[in-house]
């Protein structure tokens, strides 16, 4: 509705260069600092290339891609794990982030303090967050140790099993990721016109109905965009899993980007790592386009 109003405005015609000038700094920065690096990844994906074996570098065309698609079961396994990871992370963070935003949007004594505390997991550095969770999961320093010292003998060691390690990593990342959703949703809630709630009050709508019919529809765009951003971000998030589980046990938590890091950063097989990266890139590209289409469609539907 808003953009149409502008489209007919005569101002727009006079300032046709306007939007381009506005996005110019972002475009320049991205072109200068991201385009070339991404280009080199594409380039190396056509090579057998390992820094530690300079004599063995050669152009091999699509060979890396062929191996990846047809001869590397690990590619498909890690892809499956990545999907599970992204879905678990984004849905849990969204649900809890939304709930937290609703709570923190209410008026109560000590709200400022509560908001600051809730924000804290996001503020601490990655290495610290991971090490703290490692200590918590470690039977000789963590929950098991506390239980033992309290007299309840325990060998609780979540990282020792495939499912335990996966959910252990999910929980730690959810802990760090909730504030992202909570803050963005909280900020977005502020644009919901108060009149909507007043009218609903008059109509006798209860709190849940107000949430379902006013808050949620208003937040739809924000939720679509934040979940997309978060999905992309979590897809490529390696540092927490890398330190917490190392992709184990036995590869049970090795996501695609973690596999990339193993291949490429161990400087053993940068060419193949690049091909895996491009695969991840294309998957995210297609996913994003579809997701945005879906978002647009659902918006039209809501208006109709």
């Amino acid at each position: 509705m808003t953009t149409q109003a502008l489209a007919v405005s005569p101002r727009r015609r006079r300032r046709l260069a306007g939007p381009y000038l506005l996005i110019a700094p972002a475009v320049v920065l991205i072109a200068a600092f991201i385009a070339y690096p991404v280009g080199t990844v594409v380039y190396y994906s056509f090579f057998q290339y390992s820094a530690s074996k300079p004599w063995a570098t050669r152009f091999i065309g699509l060979e890396n891609y062929r191996v990846m698609l047809f001869e590397d079961p690990k590619f498909w396994e890690t892809l499956g794990i990545t999907a599970a990871w992204v879905v678990a992370e984004v849905s849990l963070q969204l649900v809890f982030g939304l709930a937290l935003a609703l709570i923190l949007n209410r008026a109560f004594r000590g709200r400022g303090l509560a908001r600051a505390l809730m924000f804290a997991p996001w503020a601490i550095s990655g290495v610290l967050a991971t090490q703290i969770w490692l200590l918590i999961y470690n039977p000789s320093t963590g929950i098991a140790d506390v239980l033992t010292q309290l007299g309840a003998q325990s060998q609780f060691a979540p990282l020792a099993s495939a499912a335990g390690a996966f959910w252990g990593a999910v929980l730690a990342e959810v802990w760090r990721g909730i504030p992202f959703f909570a803050i963005l949703i909280l900020a977005d809630m502020q644009s919901i016109p108060r009149e909507m709630y007043e009218a609903a009050d008059v109509d006798g709508a209860n709190r849940f109905q107000q949430f379902a019919f006013i808050t949620l529809p208003y937040l739809r765009d924000a939720i679509i965009i934040t979940t997309l951003l978060r999905a992309v971000w979590e897809f490529n998030n390696v540092d927490l899993i890398y330190t917490l589980t190392g992709g184990g046990p036995a590869g049970a938590t090795t996501t695609l980007p973690l596999y990339v890091v193993e291949e490429a950063v161990g400087s053993r097989n940068f060419g193949y790592g690049s091909a895996l990266t491009i695969a991840g890139f294309l998957i995210l590209l297609v996913f994003s386009i579809l997701y945005l289409q879906f978002g647009r469609a659902s918006r039209r539907e809501a208006k109709a």
């Binding site: 390992s50 530690s52 060691a157 589980t245 950063v265």
Partner: protein
């Protein structure tokens, strides 16, 4: 507005840029020529394992060096251990290396192959240090390079050590784990899951495979890593040893061990929930902090059959390397020389509890007072011991170790057998070795 804001932000970027530009030039001093006391040459030095213990140690040594060499300034850069390899690789690929950096054995091949390191044998033989670096360390250092050249002057090497709690062994009336049979007996006897006590803390996670080589060869007694271009890794004797070792998981070890890296393993051991642990000498200070002097004893890896007759996997060397892009190689070499000299090498190893590479330092009194260290030196110099060099020179060596970490967890979780595990490992090594021979001949 757009233009003005743009302009303003550009000006700000430019201003910050100017500021950064001024501070960015770090390697001051004159180009190429020697420095003077008023205008000393600055060389940069990278520490690959920065932290509360090493950083102050290097700063002390640097101060001492600068006192002795007033025309040279050393700029210390501490790099967190976990990311040091990536930092070195990025700097080499990006063309911005230090003058001197500590390089661990398994990184030598890769960095040298990229032409980043200067061969230093000539410098060494021409210096006062000639003959002062122990042969075992020098051989190991050359064995770490793809072309057999010397690229690091070893400060230390890290033989695998079996640490055990002598108090628990005594209380249970057990013999010290000198042989593998004694090791397994003790591990079983000291395990009491109900009390949260296990015989052994196993490294099942990051870095596990590196420690498996000493387990396999000390137990099997096989005396060479390659035979006729093929590795002996999947020799039946090695397979049997690894199977027995893996079978101990979740029986004489805690279930959590499958994910343990170095820190978790040490935390479990020093937290009192395991009676034995395999690591190197580097963790000795942790054990003293946790239990006091003399409680934790360090032995070389157990012997296969008879106590005393050991097969030892050649310890990985570590030491300063001279980077070939250095603009001040003479000054850089002077610092390398200093770090590996008697006094500095002695100080460094005494403080870190490691095995000195400098032969004079090995004679120092503190060495004989450090039991774990003295036993290791004894074992390494014992004529009845067999030292087994590995394939550390293979550019793929470390990559393969990393790739085998997940299969080892599968082995612990009984998804595969030791035979399958060792076959897979051997196949990777054989491929890498064949490729290497094709490139460089035998």
């Amino acid at each position: 507005m757009t233009k003005r804001t743009l302009l303003r932000s550009m000006t700000a970027i430019a201003a910050v840029g100017l500021l950064g530009g001024v501070t960015a030039c770090s390697s001051g001093g004159g180009g190429g020529t020697g420095g003077t006391e008023e205008n000393p040459v600055t060389i940069t030095f990278w520490d690959n394992n920065a932290g509360p213990d090493r950083t102050p140690l290097y700063e002390e040594l640097i101060a001492q060096f600068e006192d002795e060499n007033p025309t040279i300034n050393v700029e210390y850069v501490g790099i967190p251990a976990a990311d040091a390899p990536q930092k070195y690789e990025t700097a080499v690929a990006g063309g911005s290396t230090p003058d001197v950096g500590i390089v661990v054995g398994w990184m030598v091949s890769s960095l040298a192959a990229q032409g980043a390191l200067e061969p230093i044998e000539e410098r060494l033989t021409g210096s006062d240090l000639d003959g002062k670096i122990a042969d075992d360390s020098l051989t190991a250092a050359k064995g770490a390079a793809f072309d057999g050249e010397l690229y690091i002057v070893p400060m230390t090497s890290t033989p695998d050590t079996l640490w055990y709690r002598s108090d628990l062994f005594e209380a249970a009336g057990l013999d010290a784990p000198e042989t593998w049979d004694q090791f397994y007996d003790a591990a079983e006897a000291l395990t009491d899951p109900a009390a949260g006590m296990f015989g052994f803390a196993m490294r099942g996670g990051a870095g596990s495979t590196n420690q498996l080589l000493p387990v396999a060869y000390s137990c099997s007694g096989i005396d060479s890593f390659f035979e006729g271009g093929e590795t002996t890794l999947n020799d039946p004797a090695n397979v049997e040893c690894i199977q027995r070792f893996a079978d101990m998981y979740n029986v004489s070890t805690a279930q959590a061990d499958v994910g343990y890296g170095y820190q978790e393993m040490v935390t479990a051991f020093d937290g009192g929930s395991a009676a034995m642990m395999q690591h190197n000498l580097g963790s000795s200070q942790n054990h003293i902090d946790a239990f006091g002097e003399g409680v934790v004893v360090g032995l070389p890896m157990p012997a296969g059959e008879t106590a005393g007759e050991r097969t030892i996997i050649a310890p990985t060397p570590e030491g300063p390397a001279l980077f070939s892009e250095s603009e001040h190689p003479e000054e850089a070499w002077a610092f390398v020389e200093f770090l590996t000299s008697h006094s500095a090498n002695s100080t460094w190893n005494e403080r870190t509890g490691q095995l000195p590479a400098n032969t004079d330092a090995r004679e120092d009194a503190w060495v004989s007072e450090n039991d774990a260290l003295a036993t290791q030196i004894e074992a390494i110099s014992d004529p009845s011991s067999t030292i087994v060099p590995t394939g550390l020179y293979l550019p793929d060596w470390n990559g393969i170790l990393g790739e085998m970490a997940a299969p080892f967890q599968s082995l612990l979780l009984k998804e595969i057998t030791a035979q399958q595990f060792m076959d897979e490992w051997a196949e990777k090594i054989n491929t890498a070795e064949a490729e290497y021979r094709e490139q460089f001949g035998d």
